[in-house]
Symmetry: C2
Subunit: 330 residues, 2 copies
């Protein structure tokens, strides 16, 4: 007898996050009920559907599994989220019930890692400025000269999965990596070929990349005083959340032109059309797309489905969310 | 007795290509004559200066060593060019005289390698388009989604030093690398973790990077037929020379919007202010700066000076140009 799986995402969403191979896998391994409504289920509809489900597969737009729905989901063994954070999807009590929770966040982190290296190298070499200048009819009139990454020092804020994906890509550049993360042991840092450092040390690096999860503890953790430490000529990258910065202090410093910033996230999104960040020459701006890529998205459901199957077959998992991660994860 | 060195570059150029450490090294190891005229020497001045020189150090702007000057340079043992190609600097007969020739081209190649990865990742993730859009007040209206590099196939045209520097940086991405280069052996390809391929195979890759040297044999080697092979959605990067392409055929194909191009070089430079390339949305344009970086430039003279010293002390060299490279090098 196959286990019963319930896929909450409608067809339009599946096209983005579920490959053909994944559909076949779900139909082959499970007795799978697909969402044929053409839209996301409502909370009420979900509560009516969970009774038989042994595995639930969700993605962006799926309704949260409320404590009430969870109570009805008496057969539920695993829930897999083909997207990032699960904090708004399942109540923390789900762990008391012994339900296993899986998130594709580590797969999204790979796209973020590539974004960070892209944004860093593009910033160091002024690619966006040169491109805009050439498209306006200029050549080298500004006398800009780029910088190399090789041999530099990269300061990382938080050793999250996005930071790890980024650090992996830095290997051929022979850079020194400093990480601020209160939970990182010296051994774990050295496995990343990195060194632990204070937040002050990291904010004094010529390259700084923010990977802190959105948590009460990280809200505006980059204070005015810390922002003042960013060196002249530095490249500052934020692919985590706008709320980790004192955004007024950051804007003020950025407006001096002292350093360059590649910003994918903002305190309020979408960024206001007239926001002063949009008129600065020393920024590379993107609309919160660091984690978004065609290949990354299309493999999200497959990654969690395969991991759930590994779990059901008592193999080692890679995407499981445990209760002790709850406090420190985004 | 120290050997006599003659540095041709004036102060303004030295600031860019010669570190303080290199000045000290030149003064320490050699009896060095510096150019104090505030400008480049003329050919005539050079001919009057070479008689005593045992080592000559040049860079961009230095006058060529004509056969006549070479005849007078009876003590010359080595010439080191703190820049790229030496073909316009020394006559080929210099090898008959037993003078060793050094070029910093391999150091410049490292900057080109970083440019290629920067341009590739930025192109895959539409960074220049997003940045321009955000600076015009937009957010995600165009529905653009980037692509990942990991797991892709990269086609390389010519296994030159810039290609090798680029390939090194691809290591963490787990890509398949195909190289077209008539001089590359299978063993040499496998040392680069790459496979040999035909020009047709390379031009059919989802990512294509051109590294061919400027030679009569490479003039328009990328014909209309080959350009037609570039797949839909591909990223095509040219950091070598504009002349390797049939530029009319290339422009036509690019104008269809079928693929994306990151172009640092053009058939005629500077690119004409009204050139149609400047108004295409599917290009990332830079003004022939792939090899230019602050750190790269500042180490050029040091690299050739150290290599000349290695040669004088009968150690293994890294920047020496041999006569048998003459035909195939830029």
């Amino acid at each position: 007898m196959k286990l019963k799986a319930l896929v909450l995402s409608p067809e339009s969403r599946l096209n983005e996050v579920c490959s053909q191979a994944c559909r076949q896998r779900l139909n082959g391994y499970f007795d799978t009920k697909w969402n044929e409504t053409g839209r996301d289920y409502t909370k009420e509809e979900l509560a009516g559907l969970v009774e038989d489900a042994e595995v639930i597969i969700t993605s962006w737009g799926s309704p949260p599994l409320t404590p009430e729905a969870l109570e009805k989901a008496v057969k539920l063994r695993a829930i897999g989220h083909a997207a990032g954070t699960v904090k708004n999807l399942v109540p923390r009590q789900i762990f008391d019930r012994g339900v296993k929770v899986f998130s594709a966040a580590p797969r999204i982190a790979q796209s973020v890692g590539e974004y960070c290296l892209a944004a860093l190298l593009a910033s160091l070499r002024h690619l966006n400025t040169f491109d805009a200048d050439l498209k306006m009819g200029l050549w080298r009139e500004k006398g800009l000269k780029g910088r190399e990454l090789a041999g530099s020092t990269v300061g990382i804020i938080s050793a999250s999965s996005t930071a790890r994906a980024f650090i992996k890509l830095l290997a051929p550049f022979g850079v020194k990596v400093l990480i601020y993360d209160p939970y990182l042991t010296e051994e774990a840092a050295s496995r990343l070929n990195a060194q632990r450092a204070t937040l002050e040390e990291v904010m004094s690096c010529p390259i700084i990349s923010v990977h802190a999860p959105k948590l009460p503890a990280t809200e505006r953790m980059l204070t005015r005083e810390l922002i003042a430490l960013i060196p002249d000529g530095a490249v500052f990258i934020n692919s985590s959340r706008g709320s980790v910065l004192d955004s007024e202090a950051f804007l003020e410093k950025l407006q001096t032109g002292r350093f360059f910033a590649a910003l994918d996230v903002f305190e309020k999104e979408p960024l206001a059309p007239e926001h002063p960040l949009r008129s600065l020459p020393n920024v590379l701006l993107t609309p919160h797309i660091a984690g978004a890529s065609v290949q990354g998205h299309l493999s999200l459901m497959e990654e969690v489905v395969e991991d759930i199957i590994r779990s059901l077959e008592a193999e080692k998992t890679a995407y499981e969310v445990s209760e002790n991660m709850w406090e420190v994860m985004a």
